[in-house]
């Protein structure tokens, strides 16, 4: 360190001495996890504003939590998207398939069949329900944890595996790390390893759609950790400056590898609240509630289609497993977090909901589980 100059006599004194705050997660390995500090509002409390509302009028939505599925497993309130049972069963099927696929590919990695894999366990709703609320030709700019979009859009599982195995049939010719999919046919943008770069790209795609007078919109996904990247800021700025028809999904799964969300700023505010400073609509949703995720996405899509501007959605969820096959979360967080997570599991919640409304039963569940296992065999 360079020698500091002599303090002039008139300089101020700090009492107490300055202290740097380094965020620390609540629980480390060995600690009991207790999430009672989290404010989890009851389902169905929030009103559903008109899609064209000015962002300044819905500032509260950036701090609340849109929830539809209640503890009674029934849908509540104005945000209930009122999906028909067939759609709900399709949604359940997609999520179950994503989870089965993840399990199978994780095993494949452990068996040495592929070099690398990343699961999205616990976050299936944030891609499956979100993608189902979009038109199939709306352009998506995902991060690496939205494999559910490909499942929803009918991308062949075999092609996914070919990419993961970098084999002769890999459409990307073995050039890309496993799970960095690309499918123009499915309006699914090429995944990059560089975090948050897809955000301004999604905004640019949406601007292009608007320049051409098209009807398609764009959506992008990034983790809460990646919101710290400069590209996220530039994406928000350009999205609002040009009123781009785009949806920015922040998947707040609490962890960026070993860093808890506090290192992206979560100790001070929500990620949805980032929208407010840009003059963008910001919604915060229960990311493990498929109906809430679907409803928020549908709201944002309607808003974009009406030329009413971009929306930032924070999906509040939990990364149930390790960051990747190269990561062991027991080295930095409590093993009890997953079981104590107050928003539960998205698949279980939808399953219980379907049973509660008399549209599902354990027999059909068993048949579906068997079918998923067969499809990823």
């Amino acid at each position: 360190m360079a020698k500091r100059p002599e303090k002039p006599a008139h300089s101020g004194h700090n009492k107490p001495a300055l202290a740097l705050h380094v965020p620390e997660p609540k629980f480390r390995p060995g600690d009991a996890a207790d999430f009672s500090h989290l404010e989890i509002p009851q389902a169905g409390l929030l009103t559903r504003p008109d899609e064209t509302i000015h962002p300044s009028e819905i500032g509260d939505f950036a701090y609340g939590l849109i929830r539809v599925l209640g503890d009674d497993n029934l849908a509540h309130g104005a945000w209930d998207p009122k999906l028909d049972p067939d759609t709900l069963r399709t949604m359940l099927g997609h999520m179950a398939l994503v989870r089965a696929f993840d399990e199978r590919m994780f095993r494949g990695q452990r068996q040495g069949k592929t070099s690398f894999y990343m699961k999205c366990t616990g976050e299936e709703a944030t891609s499956v329900a979100a993608a189902m609320a979009l038109a199939s030709d709306d352009m998506v700019f995902p991060s690496y944890r939205q494999q559910g979009i490909l499942i929803v859009r009918g991308y062949p599982i075999v092609d996914m595996i070919n990419q993961i195995y970098s084999n002769k049939a890999d459409k990307l010719k073995g050039r890309q790390l496993p799970i960095m999919y690309s499918s123009r046919e499915h309006s699914f943008f090429s995944i990059s390893g560089n975090l948050a770069t897809q955000c301004p790209q999604a905004v640019g795609w949406a601007m292009a759609s608007a320049i051409k007078g098209d009807t398609r919109i764009a959506a992008t996904w990034l983790g809460e950790g990646s919101t710290a990247e400069g590209d996220f800021h530039s994406a928000c700025t350009f999205a609002t400056v040009y009123n781009a028809p785009v949806i920015l999904n922040v998947i707040n799964n609490q962890w960026a590898i070993s860093s808890f969300s506090g290192f992206a700023g979560a100790e001070r505010t929500t990620f949805a609240a980032r929208a407010l400073g840009y003059g963008m609509a910001g919604l915060r949703v229960d990311g493990n509630d498929v109906l809430a995720v679907y409803a928020a996405m549908q709201w944002a899509a309607n808003r974009a289609r009406a030329n009413a501007g971009p929306t930032l959605i924070e999906h509040f969820t939990y990364r149930a497993e390790g960051h990747s096959t190269s990561d062991d979360p027991s080295g930095y967080r409590s093993a009890h977090e997953r079981e104590e997570w107050p928003l539960g599991d998205p698949i279980m919640r939808l399953k219980k909901h379907l049973i509660a409304i008399g549209e599902w039963d354990l027999e059909r569940q068993a048949a579906m589980d068997l079918d998923c296992a067969e499809r990823v065999k």
Binding site: K171, M180, T197, G204, M207, A208, I211, T237
Partner: protein, 349 residues
């Protein structure tokens, strides 16, 4: 906003300066291809700080030519997204010195998109940016960062040295499906620069390469231009340094063969090889700093390919390995004195 007008000379040949030639290339491409979009800081209503986009917004509309926030990573990032949609964006970075915030989008995204998606997506952007020194621009208005881009696979790097080339190369760059960095030597926007900084500035209209045909034409990327033929040595240069090297060779009466590379990637290695094999001597001149500059690549290629034809070691005349200074501009700029010394050294045997 008035569009810059071409001076009309007695022989009725249209003569343009480089700014007018660039403006005309953009105008033509905006009219020819509805997918071409021009954007950047101050390029819209105002017409650009160097006037290169003057009149374009008025003529083509503000959804085709528009101002952007001051965010280079945003400008390049949205351009990549527009390219994925199917547009052909021509973003401007106000000074090459300010391209660095956009590097992640250029290097990690634009350059790799076609490769990593196995041609599903392309990034057909042309990033225009004024570059180079000789204008007392100091550290952040004088840099020549071409070597950063020539080191990145997937990006093409183009540097014109005349109005005729600027128009033809820019049109070719815009039509190219790969990302192109189009560096415009701002020292020669208004006239060629001899490097003899104490002499009056020459306007373009007295230079033969300021005759610019109307309408559409293109100059293929990857083809060097022989500025003048000669036997004594080969000079490899681009941008401003083409004119400086030529003026020094004329002043010293050297029968040099001068190649204006025009595009660094793709490189016209055949033209370079043919020339060096003929002359047996090679001098490389660029404004950029020396270490790991593009001259190092040129020197290595010439040595590899023409080793048995070389009569002397390859000479490099470059900027010094320091940030670009303000007051010491003419000591720093690789001008006539240093080029002259290199010529003497090359010819001494």
């Amino acid at each position: 906003m008035k569009k810059p007008r071409a001076a009309v000379t007695a022989d009725t040949e249209r003569r343009l300066n480089m700014i007018e030639a660039i403006n005309e290339a953009l105008d033509i491409m905006l009219a020819r291809d509805p997918d071409v979009i021009v954007m950047g800081e101050d390029v819209g209503f105002f017409g650009g700080v160097f006037r290169c986009t003057a009149g374009l917004q008025e003529k083509h509309g503000k959804t085709r030519v528009f101002d952007t926030p001051i965010s280079e990573c945003g400008i390049i990032g949205v351009a990549v997204g527009m390219g994925a949609y199917g547009l052909r964006p021509v973003p401007e970075i106000q000074f090459a010195d300010y391209i660095y915030p956009g590097l992640d989008q250029l290097i990690s995204e634009a350059a790799r998109l076609r490769y990593r998606s196995a041609c599903e997506y392309i990034a057909p952007l042309t990033v225009r940016s004024p570059f180079g020194g000789g204008i007392f621009g100091g550290q952040t208005h004088s840099q020549s960062p071409e070597a950063i881009f020539t080191h990145v696979s997937g990006i093409k790097t183009v540097i014109p040295s005349t109005p005729y080339d600027a128009k033809g190369l820019l049109i070719a760059a815009i039509e190219d499906n790969d990302p192109v960095i189009f560096f415009e030597p701002k020292r020669i926007y208004n006239g060629p620069f001899s490097g003899f900084y104490d002499k009056p500035v020459e306007p373009w209209k007295r230079h033969k390469d300021s005759v610019v045909p109307e309408g559409y034409y293109r100059i293929p990327l990857g083809k060097a231009r022989i500025v003048r033929e000669g036997e004594a040595m080969t000079v490899l240069a681009y941008g401003t340094m083409v004119h400086v090297a030529e003026a020094v060779c004329i002043a010293k009466g050297i029968d040099a063969e001068i190649l204006d590379l025009r595009t660094l990637i793709p490189l016209d290695i055949e033209a370079i090889e043919a020339s060096v094999r003929k002359t047996g001597r090679c001098m490389i001149v660029h404004e950029a700093t020396r270490t790991s500059g593009f001259g190092a690549e040129l020197s290595a290629l010439v040595t590899e390919r023409c080793f048995y034809h070389l009569e002397a070691p390859v000479e490099r005349v470059t900027g010094f390995d320091t940030p670009y200074p303000h007051s010491l501009e003419w000591a720093y700029f690789p001008g006539p004195v240093r080029i002259g010394e290199a010529i003497d050294k090359l010819l001494k045997d």
